[in-house]
């Protein structure tokens, strides 16, 4: 089966600052693919490019055999993106927010209702969805945003640090939601610097690193190694992905 996403030689810079120095990876149908690495490695830049928010520098990105650079509208129809620090419209009620977002993807009122019903099920927020988003806790907001990202059953869900800033219980719930709902055919491209979380969630991972020279110049994000968590641990004789990362830096 063809890849959902194929990235080849992707480069990106902000002025003189190199963010990505040519990365290659692919996301296969129904898999959870994770980009891991420290802050500033280029994870968010990569996800923003795939989400059509930033323009790619050099390289090619093929999404369902369509060129992302030439057909961003096609890509937006099939993906959903959850930014790391995303928010929802505070003056809207939770349910209204879900309807507002579903309306962009649904072709019929029935489909819109189905999307919202699915989101309600994912959030498990019940009657709280009838209150304004501005009154929600961080965990509740994150759940509604995650539900928004998954309710349309996108071909590719792009999740940037999905558990960022959440407490242990909320983070666990979010991970379980991702695991449960991707089984229905959605592929997931996610990023995290929490390597233990990635080990639990991902089918395959890529280790991203942006080396910093003593002069302060960054060489640009590059993939040090990639594979399933088990393959990587075996290749680097490591107990977990944190040790894999340290080993690949050497």
């Amino acid at each position: 089966m063809d890849n959902v996403l194929t990235v080849r030689g992707l480069k990106k810079s902000y002025g003189k600052q190199m963010a990505l120095a040519g990365i290659d990876f692919e996301v296969r149908p129904g898999e959870v693919f994770a980009l891991i690495g420290p802050n500033g490695a280029g994870k968010t830049t990569t996800l923003r490019i795939i989400a059509t928010l930033l323009t790619p520098g050099e390289g090619t990105i093929s999404f369902l055999n369509h060129d992302l650079r030439k057909e961003p509208d096609f890509v937006r129809e099939k993906i959903s993106y959850l930014p790391e620090e995303a928010g929802a419209y505070k003056n809207m009620k939770g349910l209204d927010y879900l309807h507002f977002m579903a309306n962009f993807y649904a072709r019929t009122p029935e489909e819109e209702k189905a999307f919202v019903d699915r989101a309600v099920e994912i959030t498990e927020l019940g009657d709280r969805l009838k209150t304004k988003v501005g009154t929600y806790s961080k965990g509740m907001t994150r759940k509604i945003l995650l539900a928004r990202a998954l309710m349309t059953k996108p071909v590719l869900a792009i999740l940037d640090e999905p558990t960022s800033g959440l407490d242990v219980l909320n983070a666990l719930e979010v991970r379980e939601i991702v695991r449960r709902y991707v089984k229905e055919g959605t592929s997931v491209l996610l990023s995290s610097h929490n390597m233990l979380e990635i080990e639990f969630l991902s089918d395959r991972v890529a280790l991203l690193h942006n080396p910093l020279l003593p002069s302060g110049v960054q060489l640009g994000g590059r993939i040090l190694d990639s594979g399933t968590p088990a393959e990587l641990k075996e290749r680097h004789q490591a107990k977990n992905l944190e040790e894999v990362f340290r080993s690949s830096l050497r």
Binding site: Y14, L53, L54, I79, P83, K90, M92, N103
Partner: protein, 434 residues
């Protein structure tokens, strides 16, 4: 279209907050209140006013003076039999705005062709201009009496001479020529009438620009601050639709807000204007409108349409600029400062049009004024009067071009990395981040 309407609905809902409704309601109530108070004050000023008079002469001439004042809608409290000091005290203690003292020998002096003096004591209980009107009217009455008395003297001494011709041997009959039309009247009168007619244009434009631009800038800044912009930019809707929805929502809400504001403003200005106009009509004025009509200095339906189009284009240009400034704003607070350059752009042509004539300013200044898109609505009203259609349609075309260029630029910014990386914070270093 369904997606666009979905977004437009959300934008309008975001803008029409309880805060906005309360502030608009408060504006109307406040203006209405001030209007009512002003109306009462004006009514008081132009209505029957109470003054005190101490006639120490009792001659036919002094009685004629008091009768003249009564016919000029003054209620006279006669302080007869009192000394000047007693009359002053009595007048001060009462409602009188003024004490008029006619000294003994007033009538005899007039008969003997000697200048006669009367004394007026104004009690200033307020410093408003309306409050001082009493003395102005008394002055007018005295001047009319002077006229009558001097005419009588001339008729007695020189029965064959017209007193008017003797007092004013040279008379001026003023005519104003505008293009191929001519009417009797003074140029100052025409200029005053035109400036009072065009007063509303800058006020309307300023109000709509302030309301709408603030809304657009804040809408984008709030999307950034609340971290909703990134999500919105990845949903399947064209970037131009996002821009249009935000501009249209702000334009509609801005237009309605400005309309409500203007309604309140009208009731405030009407409080003074209507009563003053009524007083003017009673005094025998009202020739200005006929003169303006004769000169062709009035708007017909097509004139109003052209002016409306000019205002609409100016609003669109303001919204497009606001959209770009909104992208630059990092958060809601910096968005508040972003409105300032736009405000200056609207105010510069307004003030220049108040104090200078665009046709006589040096060429670089003229180019500068014409380059500001917001100058054209001001110029359109003047050029409509003067029939300079080339300048009018040139101005409209220029605004349209500026608007298209700005929208294309805004759409490019929205489609590029700049929407996420451009930041401008006042007092802080600007730079790109990701």
């Amino acid at each position: 279209m369904k997606r666009f309407l979905n977004l437009l609905k959300k934008e309008i809902k975001e803008l029409v907050t309880a805060q906005l409704i309360i502030s608009l309601a408060f504006t109307i109530i406040l203006f209405n209140f001030i209007g009512q108070v002003s109306r009462k004050e004006v009514q008081k000023a132009i209505g029957v006013q109470t003054i005190s008079a101490l006639d120490m002469d009792g001659s036919p001439a002094s009685l004629a003076l008091l009768k003249g004042l009564e016919s000029a809608r003054f209620k006279i409290l006669n302080q007869a039999g009192k000394t000047k000091e007693q009359a002053l005290e009595a007048a001060k203690a009462g409602d009188s705005k003024l004490l008029l003292v006619i000294p003994a020998g007033f009538g005899d002096s007039l008969k003997g062709l000697k200048p006669s003096e009367i004394e007026t004591y104004s009690f200033m209980r307020t410093f408003s201009l309306i409050g001082a009107r009493g003395q102005i009217v008394v002055g007018g009455v005295i001047s009319a009496l002077n006229n009558v008395l001097s005419n009588n003297f001339i008729r007695e001494r020189l029965p064959d001479v017209d007193p008017g011709s003797l007092k004013n041997p040279i008379r001026s009959k003023d005519f104003v020529v505008v293009r191929d039309r001519m009417a009797e009247g003074s140029a100052a009168q025409v200029a005053n009438l035109i400036s009072s007619q065009s007063l509303l244009i800058p006020v309307v434009l300023m109000m709509i620009v302030i309301y709408s631009s603030q809304m657009v800038i804040s809408a984008i800044a709030m999307e950034k601050q609340n971290k909703t912009l990134e999500t919105l930019l990845t949903v399947p809707i064209r970037r131009t639709s996002i821009i249009t929805a935000k501009m249209l929502a702000a334009g509609l809400v801005g237009l309605i807000s400005a309309g409500i504001y203007m309604f309140g403003f009208k009731s405030f200005v009407g409080g003074i204007g209507e009563e003053a106009a009524r007083a003017g009509a009673q005094a025998g004025g009202g020739g200005g409108a006929a003169m303006m009509r004769q000169l062709g200095l009035y708007f017909n339906t097509s004139g109003y349409i052209v002016l409306g189009v000019a205002l609409f284009l100016a609003i669109l240009v303001a919204l497009a600029i606001a959209m770009i400034l909104g992208v630059l704003a990092e958060d809601f607070r910096s968005a508040q400062n972003m409105i300032m350059p736009l405000m200056f752009m609207v105010m510069i042509p307004y003030f220049i049009s108040l104090f200078a004539d665009i046709n006589t300013v040096p060429l670089p200044v003229k180019i500068f004024i014409l380059a500001i898109p917001f100058s054209h609505p001001f110029l359109v009203s003047q050029n409509l009067y003067l029939g300079n259609y080339g300048l009018i349609f040139g101005g409209l075309a220029y605004m349209l071009v500026v608007f298209v260029v700005l929208v294309v630029f805004a759409a490019r910014v929205f489609s590029s990395d700049k929407i996420l990386t451009m930041k401008l914070r006042f007092g802080k270093k600007k730079g790109a981040t990701a």
